[in-house]
Symmetry: C2
């Protein structure tokens, strides 16, 4: 879907010499900085980046992997401070922004709660403050999100490196883990911990996990698959309190029905909330995030922008085809959409600068929302992908005239549900335990292509005699890395130009540098190229 209108002519386009300040230094900010660092190096703009953590930007998406010992910090760096400094980027780590003074275009910054407050001027402000984990309302836990630093020992989310270290200590001694929340990240952490040898239980409030992404059958079959993978789910459960021992360490989660689920670690995974306090304090509009229009502008003067998890695209045009249905959608928690915003904003600034240099006006294709982002469970034991609207039944009429196709094999534990529009494009889908069908169906969904007249052909991709069929279908336009939006063709080009490892392909194309779920696919492409040469 594209926004309702083309990018309007810039009112106050960026001019050479302006000072761009980026607040936040997570993966989305790092991507933006990466894309405009050359402008800073050339002296076209001044660029300052302010990070709250003392570590430079790392791939936050991999914090769960780090926690369960499947990734190391060394491989998670997203930015090289020395290189940035040499490019002329001002990098302020361990620094907090306490206020935005929009009238004077000045930030108040401090090196910590006790630090002195300094002023820092800006011409353009890019907010990439991300999100923070939600805290449950449980006896024994302070539900104020800002109390996150003061959780009892053994109670943590998986947001930053400190969290990862706390979890890893328990995982390494194979301690018992209770995961609160059956969303994607909670399930991935539970499966990884189980694979690492920990006894794990997931507690979920609704009748089935991934409640918003799955229908009841999909939820039931996923629940079975999780149990088979050593991750029993306690569904429809209301947690009441954390049971702590005398030194205030977690020792069990008490449910409303009186049961106690013992454990050494309570992993909180009940969603995230956009960090909007700064924007709120500056009088900017916020809803589930900092409200921006389709050009990512948070204010009418086009001086403040927001990208990534802290931003919510929500325009005021009642005829906009994109926004109404999105109202009330919070941060996605996925890196892909934020990366595309970072990329687009950098390109916008560059186009404005180019236009000023050429004495013209910038014209830039508007940022398009891709199809609804897919949920993919990244785990070795369970294969699940789903996206979009998945309600309805094959034997009931759909209000829009569309139809539903459903396959469920209770024996194999596999499930596929396709919700088709009248033109046979996909409104949504669920695919469990059928990895090749999932890839093909995801492709049809992302490209807005029609599902074959006989959808049964999709199931064959995982059949005993599928063989080369799936490879044949991979075209140069097939997206391999969904985080960075990298196609098969671009990866093949990089390999042809000399990239000989997954890491080298990542450097050349950014493929596999997000969630890492495509690493095996990239490795296959590299190996096939090597074999062909």
């Amino acid at each position: 879907m594209t926004p309702h209108r083309p990018l309007r002519p810039a009112g106050t386009p960026m001019r050479p010499g302006e000072h761009v300040v980026v607040v936040g230094f997570g993966p989305v900010a790092a991507r933006f900085v990466d894309d405009v660092a050359d402008l800073a190096a050339a002296g076209t703009i001044r660029l300052t980046v302010i990070g709250g953590e003392t570590d430079p930007a790392y791939n936050r998406v991999l914090v769960g992997e780090l926690a369960t010992g499947r990734a190391e910090l060394a491989g998670m760096a997203l930015a090289d401070p020395g290189l940035l400094a040499r490019s002329g980027v001002d990098l302020l780590l361990g620094t907090e922004v306490t206020r935005i003074d929009r009238s004077r275009r000045v930030l108040h910054v401090t090196d910590g709660p006790a630090g002195e407050v300094r002023e820092l001027g800006y011409d353009r402000l890019v907010l990439a403050t991300g999100s923070r984990p939600n805290l449950p309302v449980l006896r024994g836990i302070n539900p104020d999100p800002r109390a996150y630093e003061h959780l009892p020992a053994g109670v943590t989310a998986l947001r930053d490196l400190r969290d990862a270290r706390a979890v890893r200590a328990v995982v390494e001694r194979r301690g018992r883990v209770v995961v609160l929340g059956g969303g994607v990240l909670g399930l991935e952490a539970a499966l990884a911990a189980s694979e690492a040898g920990c006894p794990v239980t997931v507690v979920h409030h609704a009748p089935w996990v991934l409640t918003r992404s799955l229908d009841a059958p999909g939820g039931a079959l996923l629940g079975r698959a999780l149990a088979d993978a050593g991750v029993p789910v306690v569904s429809g459960a209301q947690a009441r309190e954390v049971s702590l021992d005398e030194d205030r360490s977690f020792r069990g989660l008490v449910l409303e029905d009186g049961r106690t689920l013992p454990g050494e670690l309570l992993l909180l995974s009940i969603g995230v909330t956009a960090r909007t306090e700064l924007a709120e304090g500056a009088g900017l509009r916020t809803a589930r995030g900092i409200v921006v229009d389709h050009e990512l502008e948070a204010d009418v003067e086009q001086r403040v922008f927001a990208i990534g998890d802290c931003a919510e695209v929500l325009c005021k045009d009642p005829s906009c085809r994109v926004c109404p249905g999105r109202e009330g959608v919070g941060p996605s928690g996925l890196v892909g959409p934020g990366w595309r915003q970072a990329e687009w904003l950098a390109a916008r600034f560059r186009a404005e600068l180019d236009a000023v240099a050429a004495g013209g006006t910038a014209v830039l294709a508007p940022l398009t929302d891709g199809p609804a982002a897919a949920v993919r469970l990244k785990a070795h034991q369970v294969e699940l992908a789903c996206a979009g609207t998945v309600g309805g039944l094959p034997w009931e009429p759909r209000p829009d005239g569309g139809t539903v196709v459903q396959w469920a094999d209770g024996s194999a534990g596999s499930y596929a549900k396709l919700v088709l529009r009248p033109d046979r494009t996909l409104e949504g889908y669920i695919v469990l335990g059928l990895p090749r069908a999932a890839a093909e169906i995801g492709l049809l969904h992302d490209r807005g292509e029609a599902v074959p007249e006989d959808p049964g052909v999709l199931l064959r991709l995982d059949g005993p005699d599928a063989g080369a069929r799936q490879e044949a279908r991979m075209t140069p336009e097939s997206t391999v890395c969904h985080c960075a939006g990298v196609t098969m063709g671009r990866i093949a080009d990089a390999v042809g130009a000399g990239a000989a490892t997954v890491e080298e392909v990542g450097c050349a194309t950014r493929a596999s540098t997000g969630c890492g779920g495509c690493k095996d696919a990239v490795r296959r492409i590299v190996e096939e190229h090597a074999a062909a040469v």
Copy 2:
């Protein structure tokens, strides 16, 4: 399933010269007579057949076809009275048996209500009295089943030639038809009438048609397929009365909710009841039919037998693996099981005569119940086959440890449900709109073979590229004609021996002489043989 015990040594085995009297001359009686006519011709036994109708035996299964103009009486004959007479068979048509005097082994027979009552002695009595249509409890209709002859004009079932003629008159002028009852026969009649150009509505009391054979999704999708074929179903409907015009002719069916469904014809299709009055009057045990044991004996002296729709196999052995589950099952209405009983009883008599001639004791393999008979909707517009137990869902555990596989394509209107036992043999199935899958699944069910590890391969048989796969699977053991139980191999043998038409194959093997649903398959085999030669 086989009965619990082998056939016991005959207490009073049949001896040469005995008089066998068959009461009834429907398809099952005709089959029995056909199988023992040579014994009569050779003078080994005396054989008398008593038919209530004045017409000789005709294929009652085709009455619906006759009614809708798709069959003619000429092609429906099952017996040639002249040939039987020349074989020495006494054929008494238009004759009613009013009483069985078991102590004297004598029947009271009459040529009609006003006719004189004569006595007719027997040594062995074979009851093949069949069943009669159930009548609904509706204002305007006398519900006494014996009042069948006195239904209002335009209200009829489809049991005999008179019914067929009444229906055909309406069908030929494309009159509006209301079918009461959404069972197999009602739906087949409705589809045939619709195909012949009549506006048709089916009224069914339950939420979906074929209620006992289908689950809710299958029922809903079949309902849609019927509507698409011009046969709307009014489900969950309670009929209240028939609306008649001044000359007592049907003009509409009034429902409990006040709606009137207008029509020129009300076709009653709400099941049949075994004709057991004669047996009851003779002190024989009856339940849903004349109760017989696994040797088809209705009395302990082995003088009275029952076969076909009037018989209910229900032994007294509490450990019998066959009977308990069958308790309460009424007449099947299918010709296949009756034909197998007729065939077996004829073989039993022959074996007893042979044993007496050889001075020994007859030993005969007991009559085995095949797997649960499949329900196959014989219609051009809708393809449906189902059998066995079809409850349960893929995402819910089954008490027996089995599993369920389900495919539903709301767009194509196709549906498949396989209920698997722990060993992957079929407990039951539903297949709608997938004719080749239905054939293969029916085969797996009938043979007790395991469903493939990836049941998705079954769907491919109806896929766009299925081609020759299905033919390859047809083995010499594949049953082509389910009524007469004729395999592919026997048909091929008949064709090899010179049978060059469907009719000639029918004469040689009886294939296609039942419901006629396999005629296309037989024709294909004949043509393939011709092409190969």
